[in-house]
Every structure is written in structure tokens, then in C-alpha cells.
Point group: C2
Chain length 152, copies 2
DNA sequence: TATTGTTATACTCTATAACTATA
DNA sequence: TATAGTTATAGAGTATAACAATA
């Protein structure tokens, strides 16, 4: 019994490894890395942002954002524009290529979700989603969550 | 409906992020990184190995193993010993500290699995494990798996 | 005085290619 | 000739600290 739990955790970790490697390869085909794609994702959902806001959203240092934006500017996904009211800040905005890529990544994300659960009957899907919620709740109870991490 | 699937995928990705950050922090307290801990894990399950075997097990370059072993030697987790029959090779073995740490990490892995599924009734746990298998099968069908990745 | 972003510096993980020692 | 591991080199992600420009 206890061993079943360990086996399930191992399968979760296998899933983590598989998703990580696969998304990495897929992004590489677009000339992106996970960190840079994450930045595009935030821009896609929140619109043009100053680097400071990006640092908070990605929960990384300001220095790191400078590097990520440098890379995305060089590869043509975003531009640095002057902030309309604060001359210290720069607004990071999509180029056409960046906007098109981000939109496509979002579409593919939805398609991937459909493939993942294809042919899984509704009741079994519900049960799985339930278990997922349970696990995330258990982690939150133990102070392990994105919010808890953000507070540090 | 289709949106439920996307929401479930998003929760899987949240779980991935949470587990990644949490394990990273936990390992850091032991003076380890994920890559170095992975190497210790392999050593724990397969015994002393030449670096070449470690490169295959971790699926990284030989050069990378040199760096990881350098770090683990410096921090006192492993030693490089001469290979008994092949003078080109070096055997990577645990120090006492390394062996004790690896054993503790394995214990904590099992404890973590128990916490994760605590209070989840057996039938709901089964349903979750089922869904997990389904998702991994779907990925395998699409050529996305650790084995498929290994073949490249 | 506080904030935004950059420069300087450093560490880890990752890779390929050239090279040494040994098989 | 092939294999084990290292040196050389490079790129990405991450961090802290010092600093410039602006608020």
C-alpha cells in the first residue's frame, strides 16, 4: 500500500521529466527556451510590461530579466520601448513575430491538453482531476505552494 | 469541457512548478542541486560506477559528468577511485556522508509520497493513479516518453 | 531617498570538439 | 582503432552587489 503511493509519486516525477524534455525540445524548434517562453507567456496575458513587473511575475532577479529580454530582443520576439510616463523604465512589447508565436503556443497548449486526456471517459477524468486537487491541497497544507514560495 | 482539460493541464504544470521549487530548496539545504542529487540517486541504486556509465544513466555528456563529479567530490559526497581492471576509467563511490545523505533522501522520498496522498481514500487514489497511467500512455502513443527520448 | 535597469562578477548545468592515456 | 575522461570553449539561467539615471 505505502509502496503504491511511492510508485504513484514516481510516475508523477516521470511525467514531470517527460513534459520537461518534450516542451524543451518543442520550444527549441521555435528558437525559445523555457525561461524565455515563460516571459512571452506573461506578456501574452498581461500586455506590455516594464522589466520590474516581469521580474515579479517570473519571480527572478531584475538582472535575470535584463538577460532574458536581451535574448528575446536579439532573436526578434520582443522590443524595448520607452515607458510613456517613467523615464527610468522600459516597456517590453511583442514584435509581430513574438505576438504570433505566443498566440500559437497558447493554441498548442490547449490542443496538447485535449490529446493528453483523449479517450479518457468523463468520470475517470473527473476522478483524476480530483486526485490532482487533493495532492495540491496536501502540499498547500504543508506550506508548499506557489503562493508560499512567493512570500519568501 | 475542453476548457476543463486545459485547466487540468494547468494544474499538472502547477504541480510540476511546485515540486521543482520545493525539491530544489530542500536539496539546497543539503548542499545539493537537482543534477547532483540525481547522480547520487543512480549511485544509490546501482552502486559505484565509472563516469561513462553515469553519463548514460543521466543522459548527459561525459563532460557534464566530469563537472558534476567535481562538485560532489569538492562537497564531500563522493570519491574517485581507480577502476580495478580498466586504468582509463575511474569509479565514482560514496563517501560516508554521501551514502548517509542518499539513504536519507530515499527515506524522505517515501515519506513525501505518504504525505502527498494522506487522507485520500483508496478508491480515489486508484482513480488518480489510473488517470496518471492514462496520461502517460497517451504521451507514449505520441512518441513522448523517457524511452523515446533516450533513443535520440 | 527610493526605484529602474545595467554593469561586474560568479556559480551551475549543459553542449561540442580536441586531446591524453589506455584498451 | 576505439574508449574513458579531461581541457578548452561557449551559451543559458540564476544570483548578489555596485552604480547610473530618474522619480
Amino acid at each position: 500500500m505505502a509502496d503504491d503511493r511511492t510508485a504513484a509519486l514516481d510516475r508523477i516525477l516521470e511525467l514531470v521529466a517527460v513534459l520537461d524534455t518534450d516542451s524543451r525540445e518543442s520550444l527549441a524548434r521555435d528558437g525559445l527556451t523555457p525561461a524565455r517562453a515563460h516571459l512571452l507567456w506573461v506578456l501574452q496575458h498581461q500586455g506590455p510590461l516594464p522589466q520590474r513587473a516581469l521580474a515579479e511575475a517570473l519571480r527572478v532577479s531584475a538582472r535575470n530579466i535584463t538577460g532574458l529580454v536581451d535574448g528575446l530582443v536579439d532573436s526578434g520576439f520582443v522590443t524595448r520601448e520607452p515607458h510613456p510616463t517613467d523615464r527610468r523604465a522600459t516597456l517590453v512589447s511583442f514584435t509581430e513575430h513574438g505576438a504570433a508565436t505566443a498566440a500559437r503556443l497558447e493554441r498548442e497548449h490547449g490542443e496538447f491538453a485535449r490529446v493528453l486526456f483523449a479517450d479518457l471517459p468523463e468520470d475517470r477524468f473527473r476522478a483524476f482531476a480530483d486526485g490532482l486537487d487533493h495532492v495540491l491541497d496536501r502540499l498547500r497544507e504543508h506550506g508548499v505552494s506557489l503562493d508560499a514560495q512567493a512570500e519568501r
